[in-house]
């Protein structure tokens, strides 16, 4: 009877959300480094906000989580995926930036008492968005949101002062960037395998979203082109050793095109309306979710480039 009850209960759980814990796949990128690849969709109750790449690195002493998931529920799935691979404790939860798909799972790791790490400006970014995110995402994510908390980093990383953390014979280098995708982007490099987690400094397949500075991001992308690394895990899209170079070039070309075209419109005293109707429209077949974010990118870039 008990068994039967348990059985029907788990069926219920399965149909109440689009995918259950068992379906939450993680893939090994390089030795001891796993990620769950987010879907190229808008966050919703059925995808539980699992739209970004999130994952973990296992050392000899403990585990570091890199981005915790797009909802409390995804955070619990990610945590379970870690427990399925290792018994080692989770000692760090690193957030690459403030966006919900990278940070909403933080509370799922509270019981592990990890050190939460983020960019120096992450706490301010959380403070500025917390109220708005809570209000909107409660509705967007429905049941998957329940339990979500805004946990600020207890340790931060400053620009030009990368830090190292040790997971036991496995050293990670955390680097904070000047304003690019946001004003508080952080990357994580596993020195042993030369695997880089870029957070949303790189989107592949899905249209990138500019929530920082177009000029800053273009500069950062240009520098990233010469990186000496073996594997790269972007914020969205497939991790690889050989595809990211093309992805980075494509993203850089997209923003360079936007900047060039917007500058011409500003020079001619054009408006945001005009720019969002004209700029970069030929790019529409090159990106997933173009309709959702392209005009936003143009709008946000426009008001920045007005001050050049």
């Amino acid at each position: 009877m008990n068994k039967l009850f348990h059985f029907s209960f788990s069926i219920l759980l399965t149909i109440s959300t689009a995918f259950a814990c068992d379906d939450y796949a993680v893939k090994e990128v390089s030795s001891g480094i796993y990620y769950h690849q987010g879907v190229h969709e808008e966050p919703s109750e059925s995808n539980i906000g699992a739209i970004a790449n999130v994952g973990f690195i296992i050392g000899e002493r403990c585990v570091a989580v890199i981005d915790s998931g797009g909802s409390y529920l995804e955070g619990t799935y990610l945590r379970q995926a870690i427990k399925n691979k290792t018994d080692l404790p989770i000692c760090y939860v690193i957030n690459t930036h403030v966006h919900p798909d990278h940070l909403f799972g933080n509370a799922a790791f509270k019981d592990d008492s990890p050190i939460f790490i983020g960019h120096k400006k992450l706490p301010a970014a959380i403070a500025a968005r917390e109220g708005f995110f809570a209000k909107t995402f409660k509705e967007t994510l429905g049941k998957a949101y329940t339990g979500t908390e805004f946990i600020s980093p207890s340790q931060t990383v400053s620009i030009n002062k990368p830090i190292s953390i040790d997971l036991g014979n496995r050293e990670l280098t955390l680097t904070a960037y000047s304003t690019s995708h946001t004003d508080h982007d952080l990357t994580v490099l596993d020195n042993k395998t030369k695997t880089l987690w870029t957070g949303d400094l790189l989107f592949m397949g899905r249209i990138p979203v500019m929530d920082g500075s177009i000029n800053g991001w273009i500069k950062t992308m240009t520098q990233m082109q010469t990186m000496d690394i073996n594997f790269l895990i972007p914020g969205h899209g497939e991790a690889s050793s050989d595809k990211w170079q093309h992805g980075l070039k494509k993203q850089l070309d997209y923003f360079t095109l936007l900047r060039d075209e917007i500058r011409i419109i500003i020079e001619d005293l054009g408006t945001i309306d005009q720019a969002s109707k004209q700029v970069g429209i030929l790019e529409q077949n090159s990106w997933e979710l173009f309709e959702h974010y392209h005009r936003r990118n143009v709008t946000a870039s426009f008001v920045e480039l007005e001050w050049e």
């Binding site: 400006k121 403070a127 500025a128 805004f150 304003t179 929530d211 007005e306 001050w307």
Partner: protein
């Protein structure tokens, strides 16, 4: 119009609404707002032969939503639009701007940028020199995903606080010309929570932008926290002689910024 007590009342009303109905209030706020801002005065709705309001169907970036209001009837000394009030129903402070307009402006064509973080009606209410009120409105859908009405780079915004631009084409005397006044300002809305101090960051925003040509007022805008970071006012006017266009800005902490341009 920017009565703080009234505002507080409305903010709490909006919050109550938000908590009771999730992201988008299901009860229209307008009937309450109308009484709060305009008392029992009659407002003629759908005044489409007098005014046009333009706004994107969807707020692409919640922090920057361009709003344009145009008049279809030229201003004359006898009959002119004295004020245009902008109300964004579901914003924390719905009463968003009040444009004081000169009869010399000719046809009105003004734009600004607003914060719009949830589904809402955006309204322009023209107040004629005879006191009558005429309204047009547009519905704006909220943006999706991670678009928050917060600034993107607070440090950059603060670093250039008070920096101003007047942008326009070379005008011809007697011909309408479009001009834009922008002032760099973070326009903190006072609704941002500081996690460390557990206090709200004080509101600090542009309160008024006054624009004059050869010291004769063209328009003056009372602005509030609905206006985007780096407030921008775009307008059309007709210079009748060579001279200087000037803009004076006052913020909520009493700081003043000024800029002018010879044309």
């Amino acid at each position: 119009m920017f009565n703080r007590i009234l505002t507080l009342l409305l903010v709490s009303l909006a919050f109550f609404n938000v908590s009771a109905h999730a992201a988008t209030p299901s009860e229209p706020l307008w009937p309450t707002l109308k009484i709060a801002y305009f008392g029992d005065k009659e407002i003629r709705e759908a005044a489409n032969e007098l005014l046009v309001i333009e706004a994107p169907k969807r707020a692409e970036d919640a922090a920057i939503v361009p709003i344009t209001v145009k008049s279809l009837v030229a201003q004359t000394a006898d009959k002119y639009i004295k004020n245009i009030h902008i109300v964004v129903d579901n914003n924390p402070e719905p009463y968003s701007a009040n444009f004081h307009l000169s009869p010399e402006l000719g046809l009105i064509d003004i734009s600004t940028r607003m914060r719009v973080d949830q589904y809402t009606f955006v309204r322009a209410i023209a107040e004629m020199n005879d006191g009558s009120l005429h309204m047009v409105s547009r519905f704006v859908k909220a943006s999706g995903g991670c678009s928050a009405p917060a600034g993107k780079d607070a440090a950059a915004a603060l670093a250039r606080l008070g920096k101003m631009q007047i942008r326009m084409r070379k005008p011809t005397v007697g011909k309408p010309v479009q001009a834009q006044v922008i002032v760099s300002h973070p326009n903190y809305n006072g609704l941002q929570f500081d996690q460390k101090s557990r206090l709200y960051i004080d509101a600090h925003y542009v309160k008024n932008i006054a624009i004059a040509y050869n010291d004769k007022p063209l328009l003056s805008v009372d602005t509030g926290i609905s206006v985007s970071e780096d407030p921008s006012i775009r307008f059309t006017f007709t210079p009748t002689e060579a001279g200087a266009l000037s803009a004076n800005v006052t913020d909520s902490e009493g700081q003043k910024f000024a800029h002018s341009k010879e044309i």
